[in-house]
């Protein structure tokens, strides 16, 4: 029984990603979409928090949203995986529920 969480806002603009991580159970997945993809960058003020979260939660970014913003996948922190739209669908299908952190 696990949850797919989606986050669509930059963690530098509001607390949604942080709140999301604070409510994840071990084995959950967090998919960062839209402006949320900035949460997956390495070398930011949040990278340590994200690296810690990655120990118990799977972290993903939606690659088309990353590409749209001109962010090269090489800028992602270690442990964050890019997925395409089909991968997004697979994540939804393989978890028991989806929770959107608006």
């Amino acid at each position: 029984m696990s949850t797919l969480h989606t986050v669509n806002k930059s963690p530098f603009a509001n607390q949604s990603l942080i709140s999301c991580l604070g409510h994840c159970k071990d084995g959950d997945a967090v998919l960062m979409i839209e402006d949320g993809v900035y949460g997956g960058l390495g070398g930011t003020g949040l990278t340590e928090i994200m690296a810690n979260a990655a120990k118990s939660v799977s972290l993903y970014v939606l690659s088309p949203d990353l590409a749209a913003r001109g962010v090269d996948a090489a800028r992602l922190m270690q442990g964050v995986q890019g997925v395409d739209y089909a991968g997004f669908v697979d994540l939804v299908a393989t978890h028991d529920r989806t929770q959107n952190w608006l």
Partner: protein, 134 residues
């Protein structure tokens, strides 16, 4: 019909955006479908339940009294996160009283609001069949 556990997650303050009012509207509509409904209030969502709201000066409806009608629709589980309250300098005393009549207990009046920890909130979320976010 299979009864599903629906959780409405409220994370926005009441009047700056339409999310809070829309959530309440959807809860009231959903209540007609005889499902098991719970509401979660965390982050700025806890501001929705503060008492003493007065919107006379801003020209929008004060919908906070509507929470007190939820009991009549068998919506009796309003979970409020303790950490979110504390971070905002709020205590349980700052929240309005929301009661329901328990038909299984001779219609005794009981509080609908339950203040729970962040860890317990995570359990509530993980226990839902369907999560609707606002």
């Amino acid at each position: 019909m299979t009864i599903k556990n629906f959780l409405y997650v409220n994370r926005k303050a009441p009047y700056g955006t339409i999310y809070a009012l829309e959530s309440l509207e959807v809860v009231l509509i959903g209540a007609a479908f005889d499902q098991d409904v719970s509401l979660a209030f965390l982050d700025d969502g806890v501001f929705q339940l503060t008492k003493g709201q007065n919107t006379d000066g801003i020209g929008v409806k004060n919908f906070s009294p509507t929470f007190r009608a939820l009991g009549d629709y068998d919506v009796t589980k309003l979970y409020v996160e303790a950490e979110s309250l504390a971070e905002r300098g709020l205590t349980a005393d700052d929240l309005q009283e929301v009661m329901y009549e328990d038909e299984d207990d001779d219609w005794a009046e009981k509080p609908s609001i339950k203040i729970i920890s962040r860890a317990e909130m995570a359990d509530v979320m993980a226990g839902a069949d369907v999560v609707l976010s606002f």
